[in-house]
Symmetry: C2
Subunit: 437 residues, 2 copies
């Protein structure tokens, strides 16, 4: 008989079905046995009555350990008091394999133990909820761009000679003693594809060799980066707010159950609707000064600096929506940012800070259009112009205003799930001291 | 006025619109000028009448070089003889930037020159057609799995100690003198996620440090790999044929124009419908022997070997659909393949060979279920068991039959586009001597 997935049992209520899965949990009253069975698509409670089944079926059930693989035949029946919840009246159990004593038990394991057993930890309800939200977010990201005229242009992972210094780059032995570096961002390449396709995005893993051991850092993380020709800072802020609203609404539509399991405060997500507040850097600084004056911030923020994590948290606490801080001092931003025409000491950049203290989830802005000014900046930053030959070409052959942003998927998942640490938002996280399993 | 994309002009026929793009081509009769304008979404012919426009507009148009960036105001009008084709009656042109003499001209450039200018070459019609097909294929891949109950589980790029020998692995300096290796396949990790989620897939860049300089090899390529718990070789063959049919049909639905531009023989693609022929390895060998006897193959194939490129081409020429060659000798396949219960010298593996000589595009099979046998295989292959601790865990805790496959996106794009070389199927290809731009 064909396998029925637990997620689909409602369609076959009252009919005999076969479920192929694993024992998640079991309890017995001596006459009745309750087997929680999981198959990856969901969990169903199987009910076994000693009187009703052949002795061999009962004996098989008694042998089962947690995570033993089983093929169960039975009839799904709606729970009398919980509409939409189904139980399975078990008629037969085929034992595929008895599991050895399972290392992850209901007791509290330390995080290192769980991370060492990530390949098994992924079977837990909590990890299922988080990774299903991740799946939904990624799908929403692609749907958003694909349905808005963007073309996916994957940018390369191997990049040549380090452009912005090698300190946070991973080096790879390429062929014949050549070195390659793992990408930190597809942006420079996106600028080329945006000039070709108008609206493009890349979406793939990126790498940072930062010796940071915080709850917000992975050495390998997925980033989506749209880029639009003929777009300004204002256009990219509008794109960012519509994009984030879309993602949050899609998760709310399709993953309520998972959010509920994670005890996420849904009202906080329901508030995420475009337009988002825009906050000029100057006003952000004023807000931080007031926070310091009121004793809510330890250090006095100096105009001209980049926001630190406590600053971001303090600012974002003033808003229910993500807040878009724009026009940072050029000196704290990348060399390729377009200066503000009215105040050239400011860069046309934006950081989007998630609410509830989750900090920056999007960074972007308008890129420099002028060949001459870009050359000056490259020189000012002591970068080798030869490494940027092709990038400068984009200004020689039909330069246009253009803008875009990048969003780290894992930080977005962390925020939307309302969890503590980025390490649970990717199946196999890579961190400073963690490349296993 | 808001920008209209060329792809959307039909909706605004007869109304004044603004197009923001680049000059693709121009010709003039002295009184009339025809400007081909591209904006990434498409190309439209703009018509400029010297009589009808102010002199300054005509003068601006005369200054334009190929790839100059321009903002054009005009009224789109359906071509009198070509329904669905629109021309633009130009009223005004704003010059954004004059382009320097464009290096890519209609003359025949060598491939190295084009690859050196990949960032500009991407603006050509041919590259647009190919990369739009790529976009469509990737979208179809995700839609197929997402709508069939699969959960996306991204597998890591950084992997620990080389499992299957380091000869084709790229080595990365991780932290504190530790080495990491770039993934060649997410499969082992997929087996863990399939045991957690039932049906999973990963889809990301993979890396092979092969010193191959063929039209089928990239050092960095994208691979999609589904894995299904409780699935057999037969199940995975069925999945593969449905998957490929779905992709081809979607490209035919949405990218006919691009296929036509590439002069793809559509009838060959229209024939791609599941079920696909299945060919036992033994029968493949017989076919190759006959080919040798008839003088169509240079070398006599020996039972027990893996198929070479000429063998694959010869076999695939017998079929209109991809052919699924299954049950290869275990000795030529990976250690983790489940042996055929009736003939243990054969592995339950399958290679899917694309028609028209495009060779293998999918490889997969059923994975070994037994802990004991897997340990034996690891020892036989002289692999360090410690590196497989977590992988062996999957057999200790609820092992089940499971199967899956991997498909390289670039080979699939090459085949569906009907083009010669894999290098055009990814925006910035990485090859033996190529990591720039």
């Amino acid at each position: 008989m064909k396998q029925t997935y637990i997620a689909d049992v409602a369609r076959q209520a009252g009919q005999e079905i076969v479920i192929k899965g694993w024992l998640y949990n079991a309890r017995s009253s001596g006459k009745l046995m309750f087997l929680e069975i999981r198959d990856g698509s969901g969990i169903i409670q199987g009910v076994l009555s000693k009187k009703a089944v052949p002795e061999t079926v009962w004996e098989t059930a008694e042998k089962l350990t947690q995570e033993s693989s089983i093929i169960v035949t039975g009839i799904p029946r709606e729970h009398p008091k919980r509409p939409g919840v189904f139980e399975l009246d078990i008629a037969a159990i085929e034992l595929v394999a008895v599991a050895e004593p399972y290392p992850i038990t209901p007791k509290d394991h330390g995080i290192e133990f769980l991370m060492d057993h990530r390949h098994l930890w992924l079977r837990s309800r909590r990890q299922h909820a988080i990774l299903r939200v991740r799946h939904e977010i990624i799908r929403a990201v692609r749907d958003f761009f694909d349905s808005n005229g963007f073309i996916l242009c994957d940018t390369p992972i191997f990049t040549p000679a380090a452009c912005e210094g090698t300190t946070t780059l991973f080096e790879v032995d390429y062929f014949d003693d050549e070195k390659a570096y793992l990408t930190q961002s597809g942006q420079l390449y996106n600028e080329a594809t945006a000039a070709a396709f108008g609206r493009t995005y890349c979406f793939g893993p990126t790498f940072r060799a930062e010796k940071s051991k915080t709850r917000r850092h992975l050495t390998e993380f997925w980033m989506v980066e749209p880029e639009v020709a003929y777009a300004t800072l204002e256009d990219t802020m509008e794109l960012a707010e519509n994009f984030l609203s879309f993602i949050v609404q899609r998760v709310l539509e399709n993953r309520r159950e998972e959010l509920a399991f994670l005890e996420r405060d849904i009202t906080k997500l329901e508030a995420i609707k475009a337009p988002f507040p825009r906050l000029h850097y100057d006003d952000a600084v004023k807000m931080l000064h007031q926070g310091f004056a009121e004793g809510k911030l330890e250090h006095k923020f100096e105009w001209g600096g980049d926001l630190g994590a406590p600053d971001e948290t303090y600012i974002s606490e003033h808003f229910d929506c993500p807040v878009m801080v724009h026009r940072y001092p050029a000196q704290v931003k990348a060399f390729y940012m377009e200066p503000d025409a009215e105040r050239p000491e400011l860069a046309l950049g934006v950081d989007v800070l998630a609410p509830e203290g989750y900090g920056e989830i999007i960074g972007g802005g308008q890129r420099m259009m002028s060949l001459e000014k870009l050359r000056e900046r490259i020189a000012e930053h002591n970068l080798p112009e030869s490494a940027f030959d092709w990038y400068l070409d984009l200004r020689k052959y039909g330069t246009v205003p253009h803008a875009g942003f990048g969003m780290g998927i894992e930080r977005c998942v962390t925020w939307i799930c309302g969890i503590e640490h980025v390490r649970e938002t990717i199946p196999f996280p890579r961190m400073l001291y963690r490349i296993r399993p």
